[in-house]
């Protein structure tokens, strides 16, 4: 099965709604080709997850889109502008969540957000009131209690939330999240996911995220783009991708204290039949499509096998 042909272009996004628009992006370091023709688009308000094995070119792609790296060739438009010559107004509309290490250690949390917010004030528009008021922002990321704490004294999770706060202080139209929840405990992860939903619901922010956590991708992303070997090997919603790999669903149930598992292409008739036959004896009934993890592994393996 080849997945790269028709799928590489992904679902058609009307040109006017493309917040990100990449066509045939190529990147070469010396003699090594890292990206060999990447094409995809993102629509306003969409959460797009960029997945792929290490070394697939995710970071390179995202850094080109952020305007931090020059590309070798290809057409790239981010918010209608070529990021290689973005300019400061363009920069004010883009948010980048960086992995902090120990920068600004002497600054106090609220002081730093207040300061960084000031850079966005000249770019405030009637649609987007910039910057985000520090008090509200601290509340959104759950750092109100740490407002007066020096950045160097924050815990890892708190620092990460500060990174997110810095990324969104200018109320970006497009937000880049590179592995946002590495090192989060499950509670912090859940809170972060709620925050992402709030951003897309309230502000119509478009989000491009990379992650290795496939559950996270499935929960957050409207669409998933899989990058492998320097090109897009699949592009679609989690459902669409799983249908691509397998039409079968997995049905699990318990009867007489015994657990059963069955795979079927058509789950509905099978379950109807099952219930007609056994009725209330069937308990703990579950119908699941192939998980994103299975889909992902299958797609990447097939692709690597074919090259």
């Amino acid at each position: 099965m080849t997945l790269t042909g028709a799928l590489a272009t992904g679902p058609e996004v009307p040109a006017g709604e493309r917040v990100i628009d990449i066509h045939d992006l190529r990147m070469r370091y010396g003699t090594k080709d890292v990206l060999t023709g990447v094409t995809f688009a993102a629509r306003r308000g969409e959460v797009l997850a960029l997945l792929g094995p290490n070394g697939a070119g995710k970071t390179t792609t995202i850094e080109i889109l952020e305007g931090f790296r020059m590309r070798s060739s290809g057409d790239v438009r981010v918010l209608g502008v070529d990021p290689a010559s973005g300019g400061e107004r363009w920069r004010s509309r883009v948010g980048v969540v960086l992995q902090s290490w120990r920068d600004h250690g002497k600054w106090r949390v609220a002081e730093l957000l207040e300061h960084l917010g000031r850079y966005y004030r000249p770019y405030s528009t009637p649609e987007a009131d910039r910057p985000w008021p520090v008090g509200d922002l601290l509340e959104v990321v759950g750092l109100t209690a740490q407002a007066g704490v020096r950045v160097s004294r924050l815990s890892g999770g708190q620092r990460r939330r500060l990174d997110v706060a810095i990324g969104i202080v200018g109320r970006p139209e497009l937000l880049f999240l590179d592995e946002p929840t590495v090192g989060f405990d499950p509670a912090a992860r859940r809170e972060f996911h709620d925050l992402v939903h709030r951003l897309t619901d309230v502000d119509d922010t478009t989000i491009l995220l990379t992650t290795h956590d496939l559950d996270e991708a499935e929960k957050l992303a409207d669409r998933i783009v899989i990058l492998s070997g320097g090109r897009i090997i699949a592009d679609g919603s989690a459902d669409e991708l799983s249908r691509l790999v397998s039409r079968e669903s997995e049905i699990r149930w318990t009867r007489d204290g015994q657990r059963f598992v069955h795979s079927a292409e058509q789950a509905t008739p099978f379950v109807r039949e099952l219930l007609v036959q056994y009725g209330d004896d069937v308990t703990e009934l579950e119908v699941r499509r192939t998980s994103l993890e299975d889909t992902y592994m299958r797609l990447v393996r097939d692709f690597e096998g074919s090259t």
Partner: protein, 280 residues
């Protein structure tokens, strides 16, 4: 543009306040004072040969000049290298006009730090030694010398900071500077050096900063022990302006190159390298 300068100035003030409330940084300002005290202790009875003028008093202005050079060259270079490694610069790059604001802030913060480090030596020093002369001439000299000193050193310091990739390269900058201190007439009269060393010392701003400070704080009669027997105010001005011009011509291109290369993976790679050396 004006707004960016204002934000950058605010950044500089915040950083200055932070450094003045951080114990480790304060130690950095007071350490030269300690050196001065030690130097003065050993010089307590010495006079400039052929005069009865205190050697300590004649050394103090040179130390002020040295502090100016340290602040302008080393502090800014170090900060650029460290803050590139820790991702501060990348954050600036991710912010609209952030890089300009960052640089304005750095100039103000480092200018302030340098001034503080000069005062940290001057105030206790003035109480300890006899013979410093302060009058309208002193303040007039400082009025042009201090800004020119920063203008002559900071762009060069920034250029150095943008070239070196890692804090481990600091010795490469520091060693030549220590050599320069030794030959620039700060602690030991330049007139006692061989002619070619005098020539080398006079190429660099350090000697002229020391000379300028001596011209501000010492009685005019002491110009007699300098090279050519004068304070050479015009030459001081000329050499410092030349360094300022060279620095301002060189620094913007190097800083732009540095900024262009910043990216998340560049910072991550540096962090990785640093972690692996620390772990070893």
């Amino acid at each position: 543009m004006f707004e960016t300068v204002r934000i950058g100035a605010a950044r500089g003030r915040i950083e200055l306040r932070q450094t003045l409330t951080t114990p480790l940084d304060l130690w950095g300002y007071l350490f030269p004072t300690l050196i001065l005290l030690v130097v003065l202790f050993f010089m307590r009875d010495a006079t400039i040969p052929g005069t009865d003028f205190s050697l300590g008093a004649s050394t103090l202005p040179g130390m002020l000049g040295m502090n100016l050079a340290f602040g302008g060259l080393i502090t800014i270079a170090q900060l650029l290298v460290v803050e590139r490694e820790d991702g501060t610069l990348l954050r600036a790059k991710a912010t609209p006009n952030g890089m300009s604001g960052y640089l304005v802030g750095k100039v103000i913060a480092v200018g302030g730090m340098t001034l503080v480090s000069v005062l940290a030596v001057l105030i206790p020093g003035a109480l300890l030694v006899d013979g410093l002369e302060t009058g309208p001439g002193t303040w007039l000299t400082l009025l042009w010398l201090l800004p020119l000193a920063l203008l002559a050193t900071m762009p060069i310091g920034a250029a150095l900071g943008s070239i070196f990739e890692s804090p481990r390269a600091f010795p490469v900058i520091m060693l030549p500077l220590f050599g320069l201190i030794a030959i620039s007439g700060i602690f030991y009269p330049i007139t006692a050096m061989p002619g070619w060393i005098q020539g080398v010392a006079q190429v660099f701003p350090l000697y002229w900063l020391g000379l300028g400070m001596r011209s501000a704080f010492l009685p005019d009669a002491l110009a007699a022990v300098e090279l050519t027997g004068s304070w050479r105010t015009l030459e001081t001005f000329g050499v410092l302006v030349a360094w300022a011009v060279a620095g301002l011509a060189l620094a913007p291109a190097l800083l732009r190159r540095m900024a262009r290369r910043e990216s998340g993976s560049a910072v991550a790679a540096r962090r990785e390298r640093m972690m692996s050396t620390v772990g070893r």
